[in-house]
């Protein structure tokens, strides 16, 4: 089945070793980068437009954000460890690491949802000011990406157990690996420019 699928596209089996797929996926990630760049630019422009409402200093708790950051960073590492298991052909090791990655990602999303609910409850929802609209737009978009990553992680754990580590599953894992590490890169910019910047003069 894997060979039929691999050669069905263009009949260039020798080119379809997965490397072109990862380059293509990388191009998608770079286009995603541009989406985030515009959201960051929007946030940068609107960061001071609090319309008399609360600013970042009153709203954000840095220890909370540091915990979120550590969860995501740790999940990037556990995903990498899983990929080493995949490279060694050890399915159970891979699925174990993926499960840990999933839980860490889930913890991150739970914290973010908790933060959003608290903000909205305190009257600092996205409609309060341009600053908060930009904040929810940017951080929410990152959160949605992490959520899609979690769904994809679940699907891949199932595929690894169901189909084993064949060429197609490996290729999909390589794409998910890029995606997951990429989310960590975006988060580095989020905690620096959205959260920490608010606390600098």
């Amino acid at each position: 089945m894997s060979t039929t699928l691999a050669t069905a596209g263009h009949g260039h089996a020798e080119h379809d070793d997965g490397s072109m797929t990862t380059v293509g996926f990388w191009i998608y990630l770079m286009s995603d980068c541009l989406i985030f760049a515009t959201l960051f630019a929007t946030f940068g422009v609107l960061a001071g437009a609090t319309a008399g409402g609360p600013g970042g200093r009153e709203l954000f708790g840095l220890p909370f954000v540091l915990t979120e950051t550590m969860l995501l960073l740790l999940s990037s590492f556990t995903f990498g460890a899983g990929m080493l298991g995949a490279a060694a052909g050890r399915r159970r090791v891979l699925v174990g690491w993926l499960a840990i990655t999933f839980l860490l990602g889930l913890g991150f999303i739970a914290m973010e949802v908790h933060e959003f609910v608290e903000l909205i409850h305190d009257g600092a929802g996205p409609s309060r000011s341009a600053f908060l609209s930009a904040y929810f737009g940017l951080v929410g978009t990152h959160g949605l990406h992490v959520l899609s990553g979690l769904v994809w992680l679940g699907v891949m754990m199932h595929q690894v157990l169901r189909f084993g580590l064949d060429g197609i599953v490996r290729r999909r894992l390589a794409c998910l690996s890029l995606f997951w590490h990429f989310l960590d890169l975006i988060w580095i910019c989020v905690f620096t420019f959205v959260y920490l910047r608010e606390f600098t003069p």
């Binding site: 541009l34 990498g80 620096t192």
Partner: protein, 116 residues
């Protein structure tokens, strides 16, 4: 692993990347949460730490580099970085100028609401 090492790296590279990232993250939060760094130098420092951590993760986690198998990815990334710089720096610059030059009257939100 050697047949496909570009996509996986090694345990050592993941551990180094992780330790460096944690150190850089703690340095960023420490710079802002403690009083070690003078207040007016904090922004520049956290931006520098951010860029450093981006490079650490690109190299150790995403295995970006000048290796032959990674050249295409690295080139695409460089182009994207240029586009991002244009979009972000351009937006901030244009909007800053718009703010400075096109609002001669200091109009507060309160006053603006009164006008409606």
């Amino acid at each position: 692993m050697s047949h496909d090492s570009q996509a996986h790296g090694s345990m050592r590279s993941y551990v180094s990347g992780f330790i460096l990232s944690v150190a850089l993250t703690l340095a960023s939060f420490g710079a802002v949460m403690s009083n070690v760094v003078p207040a007016n130098g904090r922004l520049a420092l956290i931006v520098a730490l951010c860029v450093a951590q981006l490079f650490v993760q690109l190299v150790y986690f995403l295995h970006l580099g000048s290796a032959r198998s990674q050249r295409a990815n690295t080139a695409i990334f460089a182009c994207t970085t240029f586009l991002i710089a244009v979009v972000v720096a351009g937006s901030l610059w244009v909007m800053h100028n718009a703010n400075v030059n096109m609002m001669p009257m200091p109009l507060s939100v309160h006053q603006a609401m009164m006008h409606e």
